[in-house]
């Protein structure tokens, strides 16, 4: 599903100044300004290939792919929200603690108070929204740096978690709740060697993706703008088709689509669309790019920043629920270092430390780079000690490469 999402600058409306430019020229122009994200996509592919060889093909086995998704789902959820916060020019250090807090609250509601799990989930998400609003209030309306406010939040929510759980894990959860992390799309129809519904879903995704591309191209033409050359356009469709088909077959040959992937896909499409096409998304970029200028253009920057943190709170809550469901327990130690993973994912995926730059897709790519590194290194037996060292270097290299690139471009 993830592969069907297009990034804004690769959309078929990439402009051309002169008629009949060379294919390479068009490609270069389509890629320019987004070097980091395409760079990371290529890096991700390289890392996958590398570990695929290193692990003798274990990495891309259906079982392992499914594991990979389920292991990294909550980080990816956080990374989406973190990307938006970073685009707005802020940071959120509290998400790990908040995820733990919400997981704990959900555990208490479900296990001790015996609330039905859907009700508990909704309440948990509301708690996340309120926590985000609390932090957003201090940051947006009182002007306290987000670093400080969310550092405070990190302590606050961690402490709150311990108070709620009284230092102990609370378990086990109802089956239904556990499935949001470890469940799969149900199976229907005749027995084949593949998961039927997954195949259907993959087909639907492919159809929608191609339809979108074609429609976008037609619109570009109808607005009198020059579309991508037909050869390049067809290549793009072929790449999308191959990716979707391959990924679908992979998942369908095991248990099918994990529920987490459905959640992630919905978030990716929803937030990707929001940041790309909505007014509030555009305002977020403008604030991160130049807040005083945005304000003088009539952007209600306080409200936008506030909402970015409310949204982060909700996503942190969702990540907390998914993680708790995966562990099948609410524990005081949940979510430690999640904020760092999410921030690293955003920066690897193309965010700028000064704000105004980044895409939701980039956050996912960054998160996957980290996830595949984690998974691949574990498979080949690299210890967690060295894993940390390597991940640190990857983060530094990704951002360093970008800074170097920008400087060379003279901007």
């Amino acid at each position: 599903m993830a592969q069907t999402e297009t990034t804004p600058d690769s959309s078929p409306m990439a402009p051309q100044a002169d008629p009949g430019p060379s294919l390479g020229g068009v490609l270069a122009r389509a890629l320019r300004g987004n070097v980091r994200q395409y760079g990371m996509l290529v890096a991700l592919a390289l890392i996958v290939v590398l570990f695929q060889i290193w692990t003798d093909g274990i990495l891309l086995q259906p079982l392992n792919i499914t594991n990979l998704i389920q292991q990294n789902g909550y980080i990816l959820i956080l990374a989406i929200g973190m990307m938006i916060v970073i685009i707005a020019g802020h940071i959120d250090l509290s998400v790990g603690s908040l995820a733990a807090f919400v997981g704990a609250a959900a555990a208490v509601m479900m296990v001790k108070q015996h609330l039905p799990w859907p009700v508990a989930m909704v309440i948990a998400l509301v708690i996340g929204a309120l926590a985000g609003a609390w932090q957003g209030f201090w940051i947006a309306y009182l002007g306290i740096p987000s670093f400080i406010v969310t550092l405070a939040g990190m302590l606050l929510f961690r402490g709150g978690t311990q108070i709620l759980l009284q230092g102990q894990s609370v378990a086990p959860f109802p089956k239904g709740f556990q499935s949001i992390s470890s469940g799969f799309l149900p199976e229907v129809g005749p027995r084949t060697n593949y998961h039927n519904l997954t195949l259907l879903l993959g087909l639907a995704v492919l159809a929608v993706a191609i339809l979108q591309e074609v429609r976008g191209r037609r619109q570009t033409v109808s607005y009198g703008l020059e579309p991508l050359p037909i050869a390049l356009f067809l290549t793009k469709l072929a790449v999308i088709t191959t990716a979707v088909v391959a990924f679908t077959m992979l998942l369908a040959s095991y248990h099918g689509v994990p529920i987490v992937l459905l959640i992630l896909g919905a978030l990716l499409v929803g937030f990707g669309y929001l940041m790309r096409n909505s007014i509030i998304g555009r305002h977020t970029y403008a604030i991160g790019g130049n807040e005083p200028a945005a304000k003088l253009s009539g952007v209600k920057s306080k409200r936008v920043v506030f909402l970015a943190f409310v949204n982060m709170g909700v996503l942190a809550a969702l990540a907390g629920l998914v993680f708790a469901a995966r562990l099948n327990a609410g524990t005081p130690q949940a979510g430690i270092n999640f904020e760092l993973e999410a921030i690293a994912a955003a920066f690897i995926g193309g965010a700028s430390a000064s704000g105004g730059v980044g895409t939701v897709m980039g956050a996912i790519i960054g998160g996957l780079v980290l996830g595949v590194l984690n998974n691949g290194m574990s498979l080949v037996g690299v210890g967690t000690d060295y894993q940390q060292v390597i991940k640190g270097l990857v983060l530094l290299a990704a951002v360093g490469f970008d800074v170097y690139n920008k400087r060379r471009a003279g901007s």
Binding site: S11, M13, A14, P15, Q16, A17, G33, Q219, T220, S222, Y223, G224, L225, N277, S278, I279, I280, R282, H283, Y285, A286, G289, N290, P292, A293, A294, K295, L296, S297, G298, V299, K300, S352, G356, V357, S411
Partner: protein, 515 residues
């Protein structure tokens, strides 16, 4: 008087697209106070930056002789070692360090990296006595008023064994009492043999302290006048400052001036930090539809502050005043409110306040009126691109595509993007703050045409500019501002550069005298 302490010969300095200085000569005699006058943008600050090494040797042409020796400063430190110290209008003090720490910042009394506080404090106390500042060396800078901070800057210069002190608009932020003290101190330092260059817009102050005055205009030396014991008339200086040829071409237009569209009445604004200071003081003005009205004023006159405050209270603290549109009072407490009433403000600082430099042309143009290319909160990228494309053509924005980042454009093209943004918002009233600052002549002429077109469409246009010929060429009516007040209102037909400059340099003190 002794020989020259400083000679700057044929100094030329260019920035991309603009020649800031051209063959400028400046000679300062030893032990004199030498004033430099000129309009905003005449090249005064650039010249001082060349002298102090902010623009290092090699980045300009011409030569500098200090005490008879040629100098090639590679940075500020090098010029300071020779005893040339510049005090900028924006003071360079660290607010949360003490006076003593600031005075010796970068120049510490220390051995092997360890500061000797004993020597620091005694020396600081001595310097403070010298500049007549009765404060403990331990006092934090943040606890001092601007006048006293200025004295700390001078003490800091003295600590560097200054021989030539350069003061850039030293009294701009000071009240009369502090200004008087500062000028006295300059005369006292002169008696001690310290030469001084003072850049000032306040002609009465120049007449009081300076021994000679050099006038710059458009990056060229116009003249140097020695001031004898009989003094100098302000008119004499003004004549030199404004005698500029009207070289730019202004669009021909027959104004069709309609109803009263936009009125500001009794508008006052306090300084954001120094609440005692009224940056704008009871200003009233009006613009009719189809009319282009100018606001003339020198640096610090409060023009930008007035405009930004009216535009959603974006500057300072509002103290009083009302805004009326077509005779009806409107609320402009926030920027969205002001935009909603059809007011647009094109900032003078397009890089900091006008554009998102990391984003492309199309998204900058649509930002203040995204609703126009959106339905149900969804921005139509195609529509947006089309709009931007049409602006690129009509405004002649020189860029390969509308997806070019605005940060890579030249100043003139950036300004066209900002103008496009506000024209797209479809305002009735446009406030243009220095619309042609720092852009080349070709682009200037294009922007004048755009402004004339806007007026022809019946919009009310208010132009703030430091270039008097521009105002005279463009406007139907001109207001002058000085020290936060409107000091005059002149119809185009009656205005001359001299008459405007006289009104622009009218300080509260001198206007009181006239009454």
């Amino acid at each position: 008087m002794a020989g020259p302490v400083l000679e700057m010969r044929s100094i030329s300095k260019s920035f991309p697209g603009v020649k800031a200085l051209s063959e400028v000569n400046l000679t300062v005699a030893a032990g004199e106070v030498h004033a430099i006058c000129g309009e905003n943008g005449a090249g005064k600050s650039t010249l001082m930056k060349v002298l102090s090494g902010v623009y290092p040797h090699g980045s300009y042409e011409g030569e500098i002789l200090f005490e008879g020796e040629p100098c090639q400063f590679k940075d500020i430190r090098a010029s300071e070692q020779r005893g040339i110290v510049i005090i900028h209008q924006e003071l360079a003090l660290v607010p949360y360090l003490s006076i003593a720490e600031n005075v010796f910042l970068g120049n510490e009394h220390a051995s092997r990296g360890i500061i000797s506080w004993h020597r620091t404090l005694t020396h600081a106390a001595e310097l403070l006595r010298q500049v007549g500042l009765d404060e403990s060396p331990h006092t934090r800078i943040a606890d001092l008023g601007v006048g006293k901070q200025q004295l700390v800057e001078i003490a800091k210069a003295l600590a560097k064994k200054v021989k030539l002190l350069i003061l850039d608009e030293p009294t701009a932020a000071l009240n009369d009492e502090d200004s008087r003290k500062l000028l006295d101190l300059i005369l006292e330092l002169k008696a001690q043999g310290i030469s001084c260059i003072i850049i000032s817009h306040k002609l009465n102050e120049i007449a009081r302290v300076a021994d000679s005055v050099t006038i710059l205009r458009d990056g060229q030396t116009i003249e140097t006048i020695a001031i004898g014991p009989e003094g100098i008339s302000e008119d004499r200086i003004i004549r030199g400052m404004v005698g500029r040829d009207l070289e730019h071409r202004y669009p021909e237009r027959t104004p069709e001036i309609g109803e009263l569209a936009f009125e500001v009445e009794d508008w006052s604004v306090r300084h954001p930090i120094d609440q005692q200071r009224m940056v704008v003081d009871g200003a009233s003005l009006n613009v009719r539809s189809g009319e282009i009205v100018g606001i003339a004023g020198l640096m610090g006159a409060g023009r930008t502050e007035l405009a930004m405050s009216v535009f959603g209270r974006s500057y300072g603290r509002w103290a009083s005043g009302t805004v009326r549109l077509h005779g009806r009072e409107i609320r402009t407490r926030t920027v969205p409110e002001a935009i909603g009433h059809g007011i647009a403000y094109v900032t003078e600082d397009r890089k900091q306040l006008g554009l998102n430099l990391i984003d492309d042309i199309s998204r900058n143009i649509s930002l203040s009126a995204l609703g126009k290319v959106a339905r149900f909160g969804r921005v139509n990228r195609h529509e947006e691109t089309k709009v931007a494309e049409s602006f690129r053509r009509t405004m002649n924005i020189k860029a390969p595509t509308v997806f070019t980042r605005t940060g890579t454009l030249s100043g003139g093209n950036q300004q066209k993007v900002v103008l496009s943004k506000w024209i797209f918002a479809g305002p009735e009233v446009l406030i243009l703050d220095e619309p042609t600052r720092g852009i080349d002549i070709g682009a200037k002429a294009e922007i004048y045409t755009v402004i004339a077109d806007l007026a022809a469409q019946g919009k009310a246009v208010l132009v703030i500019s430091s270039e008097l010929p521009e105002l005279l060429g463009l406007c139907d009516r001109i207001y002058t501002m000085a020290e936060g007040r409107i000091t005059g209102e002149v119809a185009r037909a009656d205005a001359t550069q001299e008459s405007l400059m006289r009104l622009m340099t009218m300080s509260a003190a001198s206007s009181n005298e006239q009454v």
